[in-house]
Amino acid sequence: GSESPIQFGQINPNIASNFINTLHQDLVLSFPPGFPPSCSPSVPLPFTMSHGTTTLAFIFQGGVIAAADTRSSCNGLVACPASQKILPVHSHLVGTTSGTSADCALWKRILARELRLYQLRHGRRLSTAGAAKLLAHMLHPFKGTELCVAATLCGWDGGERPSLYYVCSDGTRLQGELFSVGSGSPYAYSVLDGGVRWGLTVEEATSLARQAVYRATHRDAYSGNCVDVYHITSKGWARRDREDAEFKSQHP
């Protein structure tokens, strides 16, 4: 209903809000109710979680390219060799996920829900910057807990221009033209930094993205299996065929 999306998951919001309101008599502050929230007591993890991924995204003349590997690892075990790390949020926004898979999947769904509600209430889509801000504010109360989400939101705003934001569960929100996230990110960065230009064609950009993920999967134990590539333009997102990283490298 009318509950603020930022409150999702908080417990005992009323205790915090009463305390704060009594302190500030002269300068009345405006809080969303339940801020700062009391953190829920930490639940012990069922097993050690590992955060292995290579995801990347960059802007060029043809829109935004997002690429990721498909390996979900759990300590030394490959829990799933065919997972989806790039999740569409709506027709013109796609998010790459890194960190704990379950957290990323959940928060992407919450973000999709809140963006849809915004669209229904206000009659227009929220910009990528706004979506990134919403996600950052929703994640901030969980800072200091085990929640681990590092996402890049790749979108096309209002039919005008591509947009790329990095949002992390420690509260970071950054705008940029090139991001790589995950344990394999340094390997991907070094390939991308040498090749990304504004003037790339769509084919060149896709190929570069695949190369970068492949190089990272080669060096990083926690990245591997296949490569997903998404391309976002003014018409929305389009998913490229999932290709095996090894196959692509040997048959460029």
Binding site: K143, Y166, C168, L174
Partner: protein, 183 residues
């Protein structure tokens, strides 16, 4: 001035660390990732809300004390903000003012200030050459001296600094300072 470099998991991203609180007040905020932007934007929006509700802006002194009070309140809560701040502003009656705040919510008005490891290197330069009656060009030269020293001695490479000036006419963006070459 603040260096516009931001370290994210050991890799470099660029971010503006100065937040405009009002037409003549700037807040420079550094510290833990996430906390900086969250706290600074929270202060920024509340300062603007005060202006909307009351019809006039908070003075730099009032804004600094308000910021400090918030920092102090959160310090002993479950969610302290680990941020170091410099608040710079120009008051119609009092003139320019600089306020130094740290994450333990200490507040001090100072003629010049610095946070971080760079402070160890630059404060003595500022001690040596600062005078209250510096001209604008002399002040920029003093900044350049500080940046040259950082370029020479600081282990972290800081390639670019954004510079802003606040006077009776408001906030002005000055030319970005880029230290050149290794010494």
């Amino acid at each position: 001035m603040t260096c516009s470099i931001f370290l994210q998991n050991k890799y470099v991203m660029y971010q503006d660390k100065m937040f405009k609180l009002s037409d003549k007040i700037l807040l420079l905020c550094v510290g833990e990732a996430g906390d900086t932007v969250q706290f600074a934007e929270y202060i920024q929006k509340n300062i603007q809300l005060y202006k909307m509700r009351n019809g006039y802006e908070l003075s730099p002194t009032a804004a600094a004390n308000f910021t400090r009070k918030n920092l102090a309140d959160y310090l002993r809560s479950r969610t302290p903000y680990h941020v170091n701040l410099l608040l710079a502003g120009f008051d119609e009656t009092d003139g320019p003012g600089l306020y130094f705040m740290d994450y333990l919510s200490a507040l001090a008005k100072a003629p010049f200030a610095a946070h971080g490891y760079g402070a160890y290197l630059t404060l003595s330069i500022l001690d040596r050459y600062y005078r209250p009656d510096l001209t604008r060009d002399e002040a920029v030269e003093l900044l350049k001296k500080c940046i040259e020293e950082l370029n020479k001695r600081l282990i972290i490479n800081l390639p670019s600094f954004s510079v802003r000036l606040i006077d009776k006419d408001g906030i002005h963006d000055l030319e970005k300072l880029v230290p050149v070459g290794a010494k």
